[in-house]
């Protein structure tokens, strides 16, 4: 009995903190394998290159906790990047940025309306929007790549390449966004409502929470995060392909799931999503540093995602193997 109990405790602990344990093990392993891994330059570099994915993951965390999915963030990021680059030359950067945010938020509002107020299945709606926004971007750009004409004479690159007291701007923006959204989710009534709607939508409705409005707001938050990510992406390269965000929706989702958010809704935190993002970033970097090809990370990510979710579920049900007959 005592043995079974302690075993359950171990499983329970792994399920609750497994992702942090895994993260620590990875850091230790890679540090032993390559002493450049924990070099401050390398660490900052990894976080900087994870920032774009990370920002998108912050918004998707809200959507996932509210019990929905967002597969459109990749296309939407391409859209914001292309739009802001195009408007930069047409109306100047000061106007281009709010205009781009407005357009991206409008897309988010449209999705939020369909999923929140019309109660359509979020997987299919955002799958449709993935394709539709991709088409919109291609139509907007005429199928061409977008470049800023005068790359040397603009201050626009500060968002992607600037540094404040030695810390790259993308990291600062990512940290600021994570802090604000983390507080909004954990400490405000709105955050409580997001958990309530995702945990049990019917119960939330009966306790007077306007479910549609909460879901709608989550998609707005997601669109805002995507727009910020697009801004960083545009500032980093000052030119972009139409397909810059293609396929990122599933990587973002992988990071969010790795952070422990449940696809059923009602569970997850901003802090753990950030950990999920960092794990993906550091694995990628660590594997490259020990001399492996970039695609090895795909296989490693596969194994880690399944192990992470499996342990999480196993901890909740108290046994390792599923009861499915």
């Amino acid at each position: 009995m005592a043995a079974a109990l302690s075993r359950e405790n171990i499983v329970g602990f792994l399920a609750r903190q497994g992702i942090l344990v895994a993260f620590a093990l990875f850091i230790i392993g890679f540090t032993i394998a390559n002493d450049r891994f924990l070099d401050p330059d390398n660490v900052l570099g990894v976080i900087r290159s994870s920032a774009i994915l990370g920002m998108m993951a912050l918004g998707v965390t809200f959507v996932v906790i509210s019990g929905n999915l967002d597969l459109s963030v990749g296309s939407m990021m391409s859209f914001s990047t292309i739009v802001v680059l195009d408007l930069h030359d047409k109306i100047g950067p000061t106007l281009a940025i709010p205009a781009m945010f407005g357009m991206t938020l409008a897309l988010g509002a449209f999705i939020g309306f369909l999923v929140g107020y019309l109660k359509l299945n979020s997987l299919i709606v955002t799958l449709g929007m993935l394709s539709a926004i991709h088409g919109l971007t291609l139509t907007y750009s005429g199928g061409k790549n977008m470049d800023i004409d005068d790359k040397a004479g603009t201050w626009f690159d500060v968002f992607g390449q600037g540094e404040i007291v030695g810390i790259p701007v993308p990291i600062l923006i990512f940290a600021l966004l994570a802090a604000i959204l983390g507080i909004a989710l954990a400490k405000t009534p709105f955050g409580r409502k997001v958990y309530a709607v995702g945990g049990n939508g019917t119960a939330a409705t009966f306790s007077g929470i306007r479910r549609a409005r909460v879901v709608f707001t989550c998609y707005l938050i997601s669109a805002f995060c995507v727009a910020t990510a697009g801004l960083i992406q545009a500032g980093r390269s000052l030119g972009s392909q139409n397909t810059v965000g293609q396929g990122m929706e599933l990587e973002v989702l992988a990071a969010v799931i790795l952070g422990g958010a449940s696809l059923m809704g009602g569970a997850g935190t901003i802090f753990r999503t950030v950990i999920g993002v960092l794990i993906l970033g550091f694995i990628q970097n660590g594997l490259l540093l020990v001399g492996l090809q970039f695609y090895v990370q795909y296989v490693v990510t596969w194994i880690i995602i399944i192990l992470a979710v499996w342990l999480d579920i196993a901890g909740k049900r108290g046994r390792l193997w599923s009861p499915i007959a």
């Binding site: 299919i124 394709s131 979710v309």
Partner: protein, 333 residues
């Protein structure tokens, strides 16, 4: 009650009505806008359309049975690519070259077996760990793609075998080889879903898993078989397609899962499981291919195709919801 069945009838016939509308629209619009003089409804054009439907269509049949079962598979694009790499690479193995044309069925077997094994891995994980199929196959989508890259780096894998090309380009009774495979797969999966115990159980499990368990149906093995089927079909799709083209890039098949799911949902299969039909899925893939080809015919570029398909998918979902609500209200009165 009668109107309820009418809504049902409407829903089932909707995809074919949509196809007819597309045909009429593109035939008429084509008269004014087409870049070529050829009519849209030309027999050769329609046969080609069927052939181009085959790669996605074959996978869509597997996706239907997996979705009816209440699961989903996001890894089909990567499985497709891995099967293609194995097919083409195995043809240039030394002992295979000695076999001459007998190497072809062997290479097909290798590729198809690989597809089945990849599907089985997904199915086994879903069954034994209880992790949601969406997450398992999302992970596998990355993992299997990684395997494709590890197999041959970032280089394309190529092997042109003329016997194979001749076979793939043949037109038996005027219909292309790929189309025959699509029709064959459609017929077999239709039979499996409507005439076998496994098919009926798959519907039962997707509709109400608890009830199925209580009725003594073993859920796990059925899910596993369905994942093997979709893995096998993703490989079959690759085998049919790459026999002709003879060269595969490691990125090939990307986003296939999304196209396939779009087609299956257009055909009316529910994501929640328990409902869906193979014939309607056939309509779904046909509708998408018609749209692509039709828009190209009237001179629209690919961006329009993406835009239109995305909006149609949402519109279908909306209409389906309205019909459902109405049918339920009519049942009450």
């Amino acid at each position: 009650m009668q109107a309820g069945t009418l809504a049902n009838y409407l829903r089932r016939g909707a995809i074919w009505g949509f196809i007819v509308l597309e045909l009429i629209f593109f035939s008429i619009a084509g008269e004014y806008l087409a870049i070529t003089d050829k009519a849209f409804m030309d027999a050769g054009n329609m046969l080609l359309l069927l052939k181009q439907t085959a790669p996605l269509g074959i996978i869509a049949m597997g996706m239907t049975i997996v979705m009816v079962n209440g699961n989903i598979d996001l890894s089909v694009g990567a499985t497709f690519a891995l099967a293609a790499v194995i097919l083409l690479d195995s043809l240039s193995w030394p002992f295979m070259e000695e076999l001459g044309d007998w190497a072809i069925p062997l290479a097909w077997t290798f590729a198809l077996a690989a597809g089945g094994v990849l599907g089985a891995i997904n199915g086994l994980i879903v069954w034994k760990t209880g992790v949601d199929a969406f997450i398992v196959t999302l992970g596998a989508m990355l993992g299997y793609r990684g395997l494709v890259f590890m197999y041959n780096g970032e280089q394309p894998t190529s092997h042109l075998n003329w016997t194979l090309v001749d076979f793939a380009e043949a037109q038996f009774l005027g219909i292309h080889t790929a189309t025959w495979f699509l029709l064959g797969v459609t017929a077999v999966i239709w039979w499996v879903m409507n005439r076998t115990v496994h098919g009926r159980n798959a519907y039962a499990i997707g509709d109400n898993r608890e009830a199925a368990v209580n009725a003594g149906i073993r859920v796990g093995p059925h899910m596993m078989i369905n994942f093997v089927i979709i893995g096998f079909l993703a490989a079959l799709s690759a085998v049919v397609f790459y026999s002709e083209s003879g060269s595969v890039n490691p990125n090939d098949g990307e986003l296939y899962e999304l196209w396939v799911i779009t087609a299956v949902v257009l055909g009316g299969t529910k994501l929640t499981g328990g409902s869906g039909s193979i014939v309607a899925t056939f309509g779904g893939v046909l509708a998408i291919q018609l749209l692509r080809k039709g828009l190209a015919h009237i001179g629209a570029d690919t961006s329009t195709v993406n835009l239109v398909i995305g909006l149609i998918l949402i519109a279908v979902l909306f209409l389906d919801k309205q019909l459902n609500i109405r049918a339920k209200e009519e049942l009450k009165t």
